[in-house]
């Protein structure tokens, strides 16, 4: 784009190479960033995005290549030097100190060292307030960081970056856990930074964000740059083609199954503690029931009610016509309910345990009657799933933590498929997994429906909801506000999710 060519780039990477043991993570990557542009970095998981970012922030030392920042050329940066040159990074998970106030957090990052220096509390408050107003954040400086929502914490991080005089801002999947409105606010802040001349490197898995926000996009594949395009010159299909190096035959497998008997029926179900109330719905065998809504609308909370994690205190739950009392996950499992949770590293798998032990975790009672483990049975069950779900692992005995995100998710799914459930609840099953694993998971979900399971799929990815669901339930403020046919369009679902809040900010 002409407007950038006039000036020199503020960041220029040439021939960056980096290997970890036998793995070549980066093989000669070129990349440049101009002041006043948002440059998106795109690629499947493992394509080398994080490694490249860590080279920029000084966390990794490249084996070869050069970095030119503001006209000075380096072979490698130290983290301190990178900060000094105006490079700041905002990670997906904000890293604030939860027990300190916003002002203290900002002060810790920005004020000089010297542990015996007297703290000027007034100046600290003033500076924090000023920085927060620059990012348009309505956050009291005396609030404890733990009381802030995720997007508020991100705004504090951005405020820190601004305060440090960042000229180059790296944002690593900043919207992964944001609602639509929050996302829009974040975009507004990013656009403002851009017009102030900051260069932004923006990493995201969501293509529509890239089209909404970025000026240029660079695609990485297998540690090499596939190319850089102006956003106006390329479409979604083209980008996906660059990422995977092949056509992904678009993208959602068609629904083939007929809805059968009613598996789950809810009447006025609620749980005061988790802010969910008055949920009535039916889900049938062989159907994929998509659950849409903003983050915090109560979708995960509903799933946790059904799975007995935070049991219902109102209404009636029926499984296949029988009234069911679900007080614990063990109760839910006995009723044929399975739940693949959102946070797979924390809740989905046990990272230290082998893949095979993770896979059999929920079926001990049936697989090992009498409580004696039978390693051969376990291995053959796990091997079956490794094959049918194409889980990529070095061995069934490898710890789950050694697998990539998408494959961990498949292990988590395998654990629940092993229980042969009647009702499968999937919570954000494709969040943070790469494009290839995503379409494999979609295929697996279809397979579940075909085999007669009732599937409830929670997702914040609207195209996924639209592409996969036979019916779509929309939640807002802890209630199920609408049930729409699967053929609905994005606009209908989104406006149902936003409801009254469509015009105002989120609360």
């Amino acid at each position: 784009m002409a407007k950038f060519m006039a000036s020199a780039p503020i960041l220029e990477l040439r021939g960056i190479e980096k290997s970890f043991a036998a793995v070549r993570a980066l093989r000669g990557v070129d990349f440049d960033l101009f002041g006043g542009e948002v440059h998106a970095l795109l690629g499947e998981n493992g394509a080398g995005k994080s490694t490249l970012i860590k080279v920029v922030t000084g966390a990794h030392r490249p084996d070869a290549g050069t970095l030119t920042v503001g006209g000075r050329t380096f072979g490698a940066l130290e983290p301190g030097a990178a900060r000094h040159l105006g490079i700041a990074c905002i990670y997906q998970q904000p890293a604030l100190f939860p027990d300190l106030t916003v002002a203290e957090n900002i002060g810790l990052r920005l004020e000089g060292s010297g542990s015996l220096r007297r703290v000027d509390w007034r100046a600290r408050e003033r500076r924090a307030a000023e920085l927060l107003s620059r990012v348009d954040a309505d956050i009291p400086t005396f609030a404890e960081a733990r009381s802030l929502s995720m997007p508020e914490q991100q705004l504090v991080e951005i405020a820190c970056a601004l305060g440090a005089g960042a000229r180059i801002l790296v944002m690593d999947e900043p919207t992964a856990s944001l609602t639509r409105t929050e996302q829009e606010r974040l975009f507004a802040v990013v656009r403002e930074l851009r017009s102030a001349g900051t260069g932004v490197i923006y990493i995201s898995h969501r293509l529509e964000e890239i089209f909404a926000l970025a000026d240029r996009v660079t695609v990485l594949r297998d540690g090499a740059s596939v190319g850089t395009r102006a956003v106006g010159e390329i479409d979604e299909a083209g980008l996906i083609r660059m990422m995977v190096g092949r056509e992904v035959n678009q993208i959602y497998p068609p629904s083939e199954s007929e809805a059968g008997e009613v598996v789950l029926s809810l009447e006025g179900v609620g749980c005061a503690a988790s802010g969910v109330s008055g949920i009535s719905l039916e889900v049938r065998a062989g159907e994929v029931f998509g659950l849409a809504g903003l983050v915090g609308a109560g979708r995960t909370e509903l799933a946790r009610i059904l799975f007995g994690v935070s049991p219902a205190d109102a209404g009636t739950i029926r499984m296949r016509g029988e009234v069911a009392t679900i007080h614990s996950p063990a109760d839910a499992i006995a009723l044929g309910i399975a739940y693949v949770p959102e946070d797979r590293r924390q809740h989905g798998v046990i990272l230290e345990m082998p893949v095979e032990q993770n896979a059999t975790m929920a079926v001990h009672r049936t697989l090992f009657p009498g409580g004696w483990l039978r390693p051969r049975r376990e291995r053959s069950l796990a091997a079956g799933f490794i094959k049918s779900l194409s889980i990529r692992t070095s061995s069934p005995a490898a710890p789950a933590g050694s697998l990539s995100g998408g494959n961990q998710q498949k292990v988590s799914v395998a654990r629940w498929l092993a229980t042969k459930p009647k009702l499968m609840i999937l919570d954000e099953p494709t969040q943070g997994v790469d494009v290839g694993a995503k379409s494999e998971i979609h295929r697996i979900v279809r397979q579940m429906a075909r085999e007669g399971m009732a599937v409830i799929m929670i997702s914040s990815d609207l195209p996924e909801i639209l592409g996969m669901s036979d019916r779509i339930g929309v939640m807002r403020g802890g209630r199920l506000t609408k049930v729409l046919p699967g053929s609905s369009d994005a606009h209908t679902v989104m406006s149902a999710a936003l409801g009254q809040a469509a015009n105002g900010g989120s609360s």
Partner: protein
């Protein structure tokens, strides 16, 4: 092999020490003193088995010393009042289990931190015992010592029983579903709960087992002498935690096994007699044991760092 590196290295250290003794101090291998040494350590072994389970569950129990003292004194008093041994033994186990129920209910039921709960029970039990017994010894009637079997048979009975406990628990942890649940709860209790395991029940049962094993160990201890000391368990908690940690059980839970804890216990136990036989000043014992513990912890730390990177 790589998986059990820690356990194997402790075992190797033990073998090296025993080998060195065979060369430089063959007197160490006189059968009777050796059997006595082994017998003295068996109560600690039984407690260490329980402590290993507690630590694998990512909890800790520092009240074992006090529980041990309480069980010892109670068992001694029961025996002195004329109860037959076959009744005293289960009574001691039951008294231990009841104290375990108390710890377990507070830790698992109310979700309180185990270090605080067991610190409280440790102090309370010890001081109550002090108050009630005023430091008085319990004289045991004839026929209690060595279970009335005579020293040689009695010692073998104790060693055999302790090894049986070790084998049962060690195999159970590997081959029973509950054993795996213990590891799962220690690795990630919430993930385990979402997989249908009941972490609170598992934790509770582990504490109860800890108490019961302590009661059994107390019994194995009092039959070794004609009197029961009022505070025979003082310092036992540190001894067993040291053995367990040296044996490769991760204090952060979810990792380790009982065989390692056994090797760790033997290694620490051999230090003192080894010093005597090698004619080194006995004052070095604690320093060397401390160094072994430090080495084990450092080895774990280094491994953790490697796994992270």
């Amino acid at each position: 092999m790589k998986l059990y590196f820690r356990e194997v290295s402790v075992a190797v250290a033990l073998v090296v020490l025993l080998g060195a003794l065979a060369i430089f101090a063959p007197a160490f291998y006189q059968p009777q003193p050796l059997l006595s040494l082994l017998t003295r350590e068996m109560p600690t072994l039984v407690v260490a088995c329980g402590a290993a389970l507690v630590i694998i569950t990512r909890q800790i129990d520092i009240s074992v010393g006090s529980m041990f003292s309480v069980c010892s004194v109670c068992a001694g008093l029961l025996a002195a009042s004329g109860w037959p041994l076959v009744a005293v033994l289960p009574a001691s186990v039951a008294i231990g289990a009841v104290m375990g129920v108390f710890n377990g209910a507070l830790v698992a039921g109310l979700g309180l931190p185990s270090i605080v709960v067991t610190l409280a029970t440790m102090v309370t039990l010890r001081q109550s015992l002090n108050l009630m017994r005023q430091g008085e010894f319990v004289n045991l009637p004839d026929g209690v010592q060595w279970f009335g079997l005579g020293q040689f048979a009695g010692q073998w009975t104790i060693v055999g029983a302790a090894l049986l406990v070790l084998a049962a628990l060690g195999l159970g942890m590997r081959h029973l579903a509950v054993g795996r649940f213990v590891y799962a709860v220690g690795s990630n209790a919430e993930a385990a709960r979402l997989a249908g395991v009941r972490p609170r029940l598992v934790t509770f049962l582990v504490f109860v087992l800890m108490g019961a094993l302590t009661g059994l160990a107390a019994m194995m201890n009092i039959v070794q002498s004609p009197q029961v000391q009022p505070l025979s368990g003082a310092g036992l908690e540190l001894k067993v935690i040291a053995a367990v940690v040296v044996g490769g059980v991760a204090i952060s839970g979810g990792r380790g096994n009982l065989w390692g804890a056994f090797a760790g216990l033997l290694l620490l136990a051999c230090v003192s007699p080894a010093l005597t036989h090698l004619r080194i000043e006995a004052y070095w014992e604690k320093a060397i044991q401390g160094a072994i513990i430090l080495l084990a912890v450092v080895a774990d730390g280094v491994r953790m760092r490697k796994e992270k990177s």
